[in-house]
Amino acid sequence: METIALPGIHTPNQLYIENLYRRFPDPKTGLPQTVLENVDLRVNPGEFVSIIGPSGCGKSTLLRICLGADLGYEGNVIINGKPVQFPDSTRGLVPQKYGVYPHLTVLKNVLIGLELKYPIWYRMTHKKELRAQAMEYLNDVQLAEHADKYPYQLSGGQQQRVSIAQTLVTGPGMVFMDEPFGALDQSTRERVQVFMLQLWEKHKMTVFFVTHDIGEAVYLGTRLILLSQYYVDDRGDVDEKGNPLRRGAKIITDIPLTGTALPTKVKGEKSFIEIVRSIAEGPGFKPDHREHVRDFNLAHSNSFQTLTALEDKTGNGNGRLKKMEEQMIRGG
């Protein structure tokens, strides 16, 4: 696993992951069990990356690693040109639950993002401005009239909107969302989705959006990543004792999604339904539908793949990487 230095990975709000492995000890045997296996990913500023995958494939683990909340990984994770740091305000997080502080009112929940950002003398002298700024974000999430309520007085969808406002008010260049709308009912969910897109158009941050809803992923993202442990490679399907080989998840699909203009992305449209169906029925979602590592659909222009000699005995897989390197050198 030698490191390959690629040019152009040091711009702000860019994510670059290469040869990422994450192993956890198996609770029963104590042997290391691979959750993420040789993951390569490059994301440019401003992309809206939807991440999907079968349950237990390590979507949340990948997010935690990018946030700096899990440092037990192997490989390279470069964010903002540096190896991933402890969690800080450059990377926002919107979790599925417990996003808001129960002991603060709605306004204070948003305000605390600003208060934590500025030193105390600035806070004391700019009380009004900070308040106004927080109110502006509350307006954006249409919760201005609930400013003085406590979270327990709000519905799940409203709480999640507070959580989003709280994250965005700090102005992070990257936002990581871990199934943020998973606990919401369908109609609330659709409203918050539209709202999320509006915020993204406005702030142009890089978004990593984990979801188990393919429709949601296709609707929101500019790029779709399917993370899955269901694939085959040249190591064969069983280990030396004849047990089926358990592999860590890889990115097995990485495709651009049509355009960012809202009106064309109508959920009822035929092409939309077609994409969702092809992904749902495609490889990687079920254990019995597997694709070879060489045949992954990595059509996105930022996508690359570094395979080890064991995974790909022909050595053809690395051709993709070489091609991209050439492109980058030529294109600058």
Binding site: F86, S89, Y150
Partner: protein, 282 residues
């Protein structure tokens, strides 16, 4: 066709829904039976023996209570009852404050700092399993039989359990919420003092509330064995003269005090932390 709605039983069975009035009456019934039984028995016993001490009549109890509550003691000049109450409450109060501070400080440290956890957790788990009465003789030998030993015995008996409860609360809160706070730009001090502490305080009050029973238990025990004043001391002292007419009002008084403390702490919780109990309901 049958159109009549089924009737919900009032009292018996799992479907029963006793109304408010019935609930109050039902709750009062055991008390009424107890009191009536006592009155009857004490009346019978007093008829056959005017010097009856085991079950004094209400009149005798009131006389005895007047004696201890409103007449100054010849030796000290204090009224015994109020003096005992003051002494016991002071011991209890000190112990509650010390235990709360210890539980908060250790509980949060144990939950947030893995190094602290490694250092202190085994000792805490060990000490929470030692029955406090076993430590009484040790304490009297080392700390002495002064005021401090009574406070210390209460602290020893409630602080470990309270610490573990705070630890559990903070551990559950930690994790995701801490990561999220850091992503909002919080420093480590911010996380502890602005995010976690305000959420732990109401829980601490609740933990203290549930620990009060144990605290009273230890207080009475310590006072019974080595003290010269206090409610526990008094009850054990008059037991030697079979003065049930003093023991009964003292026992009732402890109940009243315990109820009042519980009520006041509940009031503080509702007034200062309105979000706390509501949030638990959701």
């Amino acid at each position: 066709m049958e159109t009549k709605k089924i009737r919900i039983p009032l009292f018996f069975g799992m479907h029963a829904e006793p109304g408010q009035l019935l609930s109050i009456c039902a709750g009062a019934l055991p008390f009424i039976i107890l009191i009536a039984g006592y009155l009857y028995l004490s009346h019978e016993r007093n008829l056959s023996n005017p010097d009856e001490k085991l079950m004094p009549t209400p009149a005798k109890i009131v006389t005895a209570f007047n004696q201890v509550a409103f007449k100054a003691d010849v030796k000290t000049g204090d009224t015994i009852f109020w003096h005992d109450t003051g002494v016991s409450l002071r011991r209890l109060g000190y112990a509650a404050i010390i235990s709360s501070v210890l539980a908060l400080w250790f509980g949060m440290n144990l939950a947030l700092f893995k190094g602290m956890n490694a250092l202190c957790m085994p000792l805490l788990r060990f000490s929470s399993l030692v029955p406090p009465p076993i430590l009484l003789p040790v304490l009297f030998l080392t700390v002495g039989v002064e005021e401090a030993s009574k406070v210390v015995i209460i602290v020893i008996s409630i602080a470990p359990a309270m610490t573990l409860a705070v630890y559990g609360t903070v551990s559950k809160m930690a994790g995701e919420q801490i990561t999220r706070s850091f992503t909002l730009g919080a420093t480590q001090l911010d996380v502890i003092y602005r995010i976690l502490l305000p959420q732990v305080l109401p829980r601490l009050i609740e933990i203290l509330r549930t620990s009060l029973g144990m605290a009273w238990y230890s207080l009475i025990l310590a006072e019974a064995i080595a003290a010269s004043s206090g409610i526990g001391y008094r009850i054990y002292l008059v037991r030697r003269f079979t003065q049930m007419d003093v023991i009964i009002p003292y026992a009732l008084w402890v109940v009243v005090l315990g109820y009042a403390m519980n009520y006041i702490l509940g009031l503080i919780l509702d007034k200062c932390y309105p979000w706390y109990s509501k949030q638990k309901e959701n």
